[in-house]
């Protein structure tokens, strides 16, 4: 009985001493260290802040083996689910900035995590340095195939005629769908009856069964039902048509001036990571994105492979933050 407290006391002491030591000497790894990054045989953790088998996870498992080959180091996909992704993102933000830990910081999803103080995120935009974005997912609006709304104008006119009556499903409260719907409401002066479901699949099921009037979300979540004709896409919230649904008109083309809402599959390292380490990861990710096999698999998942460099992602992140922050602030006020 006595052994255990004694043992742990020593362990705790050792831990605190060691922590103090690293605390004093801890500084961003010097730039020379990056020359040999990554050391052969070292392990890089790719933190996916959602469950095994979720969309992010599957994409990570497609790309990781290709990056791994280029870098000559092991890349392990690690699922850290919880707290609506905050747990996993906290982990990335607080990881040692040595390039051996990076994670999914999808834009705009991540904005909803740290702009809402009640989520207790220990990070913000400044905590991360993007290494790039490998794909985009255009946002579309879809209705049941038998819906009486044949065009986006008919739908929005009906919403205007009866504010708060037309129902729309989201994949989660305060997720991308929810925020994008609020952006639409604000910019176009509309009022939807927003109903939250637990997943993109439940949201789609509600459209197919006719439980909700319409739904908004990434084109990938509607793709199967769009192809089979169960769901009719009315518009894509982009400046140009989506290659997955080329005949669907853009929202801008239909006469509504709304900025593109596409989500970007960005990856980031902690912000203090040395520049040349970021550059190494960036080039590996870029090569992986441009590999034909990867592109084919991404397209199979109705996700558009599209390379965005580290600096482009940083710029995009800043822009989207400035559009979305007011919407989130407003949502918070209503609670």
């Amino acid at each position: 009985m006595k052994k255990i407290p004694a043992l742990t006391a020593t362990a705790a002491l050792a831990a605190s001493v060691a922590l103090a030591l690293t605390g004093c000497g801890g500084q961003p790894a010097s730039s020379t260290a990056a020359a040999d990054f990554p050391k052969a045989g070292s392990t890089i953790e790719w933190i996916v802040p959602s469950a095994a088998g979720a969309g992010n996870d599957i994409l990570a498992r497609i790309i990781a083996p290709v990056m791994q080959e280029d870098l000559g180091a092991n890349i392990k996909v690690v699922n850290k689910e919880g707290g609506s992704q905050v747990v996993g993102l906290n982990y990335v933000a607080q990881a040692k900035p040595d390039g051996l830990t990076f994670g999914n910081t999808n834009i705009p999803s991540i904005l909803g995590r740290y702009l809402d103080p009640s989520k207790k995120a220990a990070f913000d935009r400044g905590s991360f340095t993007p290494i790039g974005s490998f794909a985009t997912n255009s946002v579309v609006i879809g209705v049941n195939k038998d819906s009486k709304y044949k065009t986006i104008k008919e739908l929005f006119d009906a919403v205007k005629a009866e504010p708060g009556k037309i129902t729309v499903g989201t994949d989660s409260r305060a997720g991308d769908d929810h925020i994008n719907l609020r952006l639409l409401e604000d910019q176009l002066g509309l009022d939807f009856n927003i109903v939250h479901y637990n997943s993109g699949a439940d949201k789609v099921a509600a459209i197919v069964s006719g439980e909700t009037d319409f739904a908004l979300g990434g084109v990938s979540s509607f793709y199967g039902q769009y192809k089979s004709g169960d769901i009719k896409l009315l518009t894509v919230v982009e400046d140009a048509a989506s290659p997955f649904a080329p005949e669907v008109p853009t929202l801008k083309g239909s006469g509504y001036d709304v900025k593109p809402m596409a989500s970007n599959f960005a990856l980031s390292v902690p912000s203090k990571t040395p520049k040349d380490v970021v550059a190494k990861l960036e080039s590996a990710l870029k090569k992986a994105t441009e590999t034909p096999a990867v592109q084919e698999k991404l397209k199979g998942a109705a996700t558009q492979p599209a390379w965005k460099s580290s600096s482009d992602v940083a710029k995009l992140w800043e822009e989207r933050e400035s559009t979305i922050k007011p919407v989130i602030d407003e949502l918070l006020k209503q609670q």
Binding site: K80, E81, T167, V204, S209, Q225, S228, G300
Partner: protein, 507 residues
């Protein structure tokens, strides 16, 4: 669509190459599924890279086999160690572990494999028959799902043990635990103490592993290193003829229950196997044996589980809608291999579609053939002396719980749940109502909130449509038969018995 195509699919699967991939998938899935915390979904996701480079049909056949193998691996630990690797194995722990304790772990495992096969087979036959009508399942919207969850609470009476007050406490505790996290209606964080780890609620698998698995280890360990001889004897490996006869009908009924529950959107797998268990207990002439090693208590839930696993693929194949996290992974696997799940699958790639459906039977057959001899190997685990076995179980649970989310926090939840389960066992509070409350609570609340959001606060939403009205009728009947009748019966009994009792006391 029909049985011709199914036969065609079988022909496709019965090539050496496809059979080999199915076999490898079953074995890999089983090995990973044995690890606590690795349910079918996690196993498939982990092993997806293994299928890179295969053609689409082989890849999906292999992934489906991994799914089944992992589910069976979870059953193994549920029977031998009372650790449900995932929530849907809970029902199997109730009698499976008792059988193992009585030295009948071998028969329990073989019956589980047989029942799973029956469930899979009936599931596939049902698949062919029902698939054209699967759209009807979508008639179950939020209000109907709320009523189904409400009906699910009737199950608690079957797991209540002898004292209703204690069962109520257990179920209420489960409900309370289920409310932790960000509320789905308004977005308020409840009982989260500002910890992001709690925002999405407490992990079901971690709690289930603690409440059932860890509490049992603690209960055994309290007797000391040498005080636990008995779960270790192994009498016979194969089930007796009586075992088989007693399992036949429960397997069939379980398959039917599982099949229909699998069609519902967002169907709760764990509640389904418990429903099958409850049905068998109610119908059996030997209901007193349930909880003490009744073979029906394994056959029913296991077949229900597997029939559900097959029928939950129907909405994916016919509508492209995955109804559970596990099926969602399969959907991901489809798209990664260039197949679009949904009705187009039958139009554009009918051969692939039917080969996959046929492989569901073949996978189950392989598992059956593998597991009759393998039962001997699994049983050998019980021959390990308890002082080492205990340490090994604790190590695996620690590791498995960590691996669910890569978080040490889940280990703490598992530990807390284990201590709660341990104390509950000491004071004889039944554990299963707690888990039922935990599973049904969120379904109940979310669908209630969602229904009212859809109707903008109009409670009539629960009274619309024939399905809702039927469900309400069933609920009323359940209350009448489940509660009022025993109440009257007990009052009648008391009138006749009480005078006698008081006379005896007076003596």
């Amino acid at each position: 669509m029909g049985f011709d195509q199914l036969l065609g699919g079988l022909a496709t699967v019965f090539t050496p190459e496809h059979l080999l991939f199915a076999l490898i998938g079953c074995v890999l899935g089983m090995l990973v599924g044995v690890l606590p915390g690795f349910g079918p979904a996690a196993a498939v996701s982990l092993l997806i890279p293994v299928t890179f480079g295969l053609d689409a049909t082989s890849a999906i056949i292999m992934l489906a086999a991994i799914l089944y193998g992992a589910a069976y691996g979870g059953t193994t630990t549920a029977v031998l160690l009372r650790i449900p690797g995932e929530a849907s194995s809970i029902a199997t722990t109730l009698d499976g572990y008792q059988m193992a304790k009585q030295g009948r772990g071998g028969p329990a495992l073989v019956i589980a494999a047989l029942a799973s096969f029956v469930g899979g087979l009936i599931g596939v036959v049902g698949f062919v028959v029902v698939a054209p009508f699967s759209r009807l399942a979508l008639e179950f919207g939020a209000p109907e799902l709320f009523l189904v969850s409400l009906l699910g609470f009737a199950l608690i009476t079957s797991f209540a043990g002898s004292n209703p007050a204690k069962a109520l406490l257990s179920a209420a505790a489960g409900l309370a635990i289920a409310t932790v996290g960000v509320d789905s209606g308004v977005g308020i964080a409840r009982f989260t103490f500002d910890m992001p780890e709690l925002f999405d609620g407490l992990g079901l698998v971690a709690i289930v592993m603690g409440v059932f698995g860890l509490s049992e280890v603690l209960g055994q360990a309290q007797k000391g290193p040498l005080g636990v001889p008995s779960p270790l004897k192994v009498a016979r490996l194969l089930p007796t003829r009586t075992d088989l006869r007693r399992s036949a009908l429960p397997s069939l009924r379980g398959s039917v229950i599982g099949f229909f529950m699998g069609l519902l959107p967002g169907s709760p797998g764990a509640a389904t196997s418990l429903a099958s268990y409850a049905a068998e207990k109610k119908l059996s002439k030997r209901s007193k044996e349930f909880g003490r090693g009744a073979v029906e208590g394994i056959a029913g839930p296991e077949s229900a589980n597997n029939a559900l696993a097959v029928s939950s693929m129907i909405p994916l194949f016919t509508l492209g809608i995955p109804t559970s996290a596990t099926v969602a992974i399969m959907a991901g696997a489809f798209t990664m291999n260039g197949l679009i799940p949904g009705p187009l699958l039958f139009r554009d790639n009918p051969d692939v579609a039917w080969a996959i459906i046929a492989s569901l039977i073949v996978g189950n057959l392989i598992l059956l053939v593998l597991n009759v001899p393998l039962a001997r190997v699994w049983i050998a685990v019980l021959k390990v002396p308890f002082h080492y076995l205990m340490a090994a179980i604790l190590a695996f649970m620690f590791l498995g719980t960590y691996s669910i989310n890569g978080s040490a926090f889940d280990i703490l939840i598992m530990l807390g749940a284990g201590l709660l389960g341990y104390v509950f066992q000491l004071v004889k509070v039944p554990l299963t109502p707690l888990v039922l409350g935990l599973i049904l609570g969120p379904l109940l609340e979310e669908n209630f909130q969602r229904s009212l959001a859809l109707s903008r606060g109009d409670y009539n939403v629960f009274l619309q449509g024939p399905i809702s009205l039927t469900l309400i009728g069933v609920i009323v009947l359940a209350i009448l038969f489940g509660a009022v009748r025993p109440l009257i019966a007990s009052m009648l009994k008391k009138k006749t018995i009480t005078p006698v009792a008081s006379k005896e006391l007076a003596k």
